[in-house]
């Protein structure tokens, strides 16, 4: 996934319009970033990247960039 695809995937799980998220967007300003979005992100990470993320990791996210950084296949 390139950057645009990753942003689009995140916009989709939050049901946001295309272009609504930027890497520097702060998650506290995105009301759609809620427990359901977090769960959808967990499923996405499992399905697309074969990775397991913890609730602790998710609660530490502050910006969209923090999420993007995790969206890489296991090294």
């Amino acid at each position: 996934m390139n950057l645009q695809e990753k942003l689009a995937a995140l916009e989709e799980i939050m049901e946001l319009d295309e272009g609504a998220l930027q890497p520097e967007t702060r998650l506290e300003d995105v009301e759609e970033w809620d427990s359901l979005a977090a769960l959808s992100y967990v499923v996405l990470m499992g399905d697309e990247f074969g990775k397991k993320v913890s609730g602790q990791q998710i609660r530490a996210f502050q910006t969209v960039q923090d999420i993007l950084d995790t969206m890489e296949p296991e090294a």
Partner: protein, 384 residues
């Protein structure tokens, strides 16, 4: 732990839900989130409506009403009953236990053995194993009561737990059988190291409830709760279920010598629709044989979801037909349980409504038929 019990059958199941219906749409405004995101959550998780008992109706009232219904119909006889096992996470009183309260409410004979099993999400399967063990110990007939009331009245502000909660009670009658095909296989697993993922921190001996523990605070995901309220790390529970339940069912089938594809229905504990759809996909079974409609119609009723799913979805079909089923349950502990058997040829399989106000005497109440509460056509309180 794996176990096999021969010569036991489930003779009938009856579940009771409170008459009072609460709609998610009406509750949206109580949550500290935009209504739009709550609606999105509801759509995915299947939050539509749930049944919550009024403040005068306790777990024992719901359960005693169900027992009285069975006595009234003649499906259960006080003189044949040898034991009553009451599975619950809430109690009418700290002392004595629910089974003793119900013994008094029902006027049961002195020789009926009454015991309580404290359990959460896996309560039905644990209780079933306990009941089957009693039959193996020589009893003719055991009433397995699972009941859940009041647990969810606690915190209407918490969108993480409140919309999915519901109250209900059920009685499952387990009897001795001479049919060699009446065999139950069980499997149980626990991971207590992950217990904090689903926990009510205060109110027990480790942290007694005080004014301090009752103080509301906003948690990391924006929900308001106190230490007296149930907390759930939804992500952790979801991952636990996804990684643990499929191998558990695989192990059970191997142990029982049952081909996984021979399972006609999966009667699972129901925390939300989303998790169950994903679970069906992971198990590689059609979503319509792993029922997921209990939360949207009644709410998650802890140890009563499996009886509600059974009576609501299969109901009268279980009187004349028989199916290979797999019960499975997962949750607080974190714990897992599953059982497989042939289910059917029952004497009764009903879902009824409780009239409220702490009623325990059965009065004519109509059994809910499947479809009655679906598609927005909710059963209205008082619309009899």
């Amino acid at each position: 732990m794996l176990a096999t019990i021969h010569g036991v059958r489930i003779r009938g199941v009856c579940a009771t839900v409170p008459r009072q219906v609460y709609r998610f749409e009406d509750e949206l405004k109580n949550f500290p989130f935009p209504e739009k995101t709550s609606r999105r959550l509801g759509k995915v998780m299947g939050f539509r409506e749930h049944r919550i008992a009024d403040a005068r109706t306790t777990p024992c009232d719901l359960a005693s009403y169900t027992m009285n219904y069975l006595f009234h119909r003649g499906w259960l006889r006080k003189d044949r009953l040898r034991a009553m096992i009451v599975v619950a996470q809430m109690a009418d009183h700290p002392v004595p236990g629910n089974s003793k309260v119900m013994h008094g409410q029902l006027g049961l004979p002195g020789e009926v053995f009454c015991t309580d099993v404290y359990e959460n999400c896996i309560g039905f399967v644990s209780g079933l194993f306990t009941a089957c063990s009693y039959i193996q110990a020589g009893m003719e007939e055991v009433a397995l009561v699972t009941t859940d009331g009041g647990a969810c009245r606690a915190n209407p502000l918490d969108r993480n737990t409140y919309p999915l909660c519901g109250d209900a009670a059920a009685v499952t009658v387990v009897s001795r059988s001479d049919d060699p095909d009446d065999v139950l296989h069980f499997v149980f697993r626990n991971d207590g190291s992950r217990r904090e993922a689903l926990m009510t921190p205060a109110g027990g001996c480790r942290m007694p409830a005080t004014a301090e523990t009752a103080r509301m605070f906003k948690d990391e995901m924006g929900n308001y709760r106190s230490l007296n309220h149930m907390y759930m790390d939804g992500t952790a529970v979801f991952q636990f279920v996804m990684e643990s339940v499929p191998p558990l069912i695989e192990e059970l089938c191997r142990y029982a010598g049952v081909d996984r594809s021979a399972i006609q229905y999966h009667l699972t504990h129901q925390p939300n629709r989303f998790m169950l759809q994903k679970l069906a996909d992971l198990l590689g079974v059609p979503r319509d044989i792993l029922f997921n409609n209990v939360v949207e119609n009644f709410g998650n009723t802890s140890s009563v979801t499996i009886p509600v799913a059974t009576t609501f979805n299969l109901g009268k079909r279980l009187l004349n037909e028989r199916f290979r089923v797999c019960f499975s349950a997962f949750g607080a502990g974190l714990s897992l349980a599953a059982a497989t058997c042939r289910l059917g040829g029952m004497d009764f399989c009903d879902l009824i409504e409780h009239p409220g106000n702490g009623c325990i005497a059965y009065t004519e109440s109509r059994a809910l038929e499947k479809g009655e509460t679906q598609g927005g056509g909710a059963a209205q309180p008082g619309q009899e």
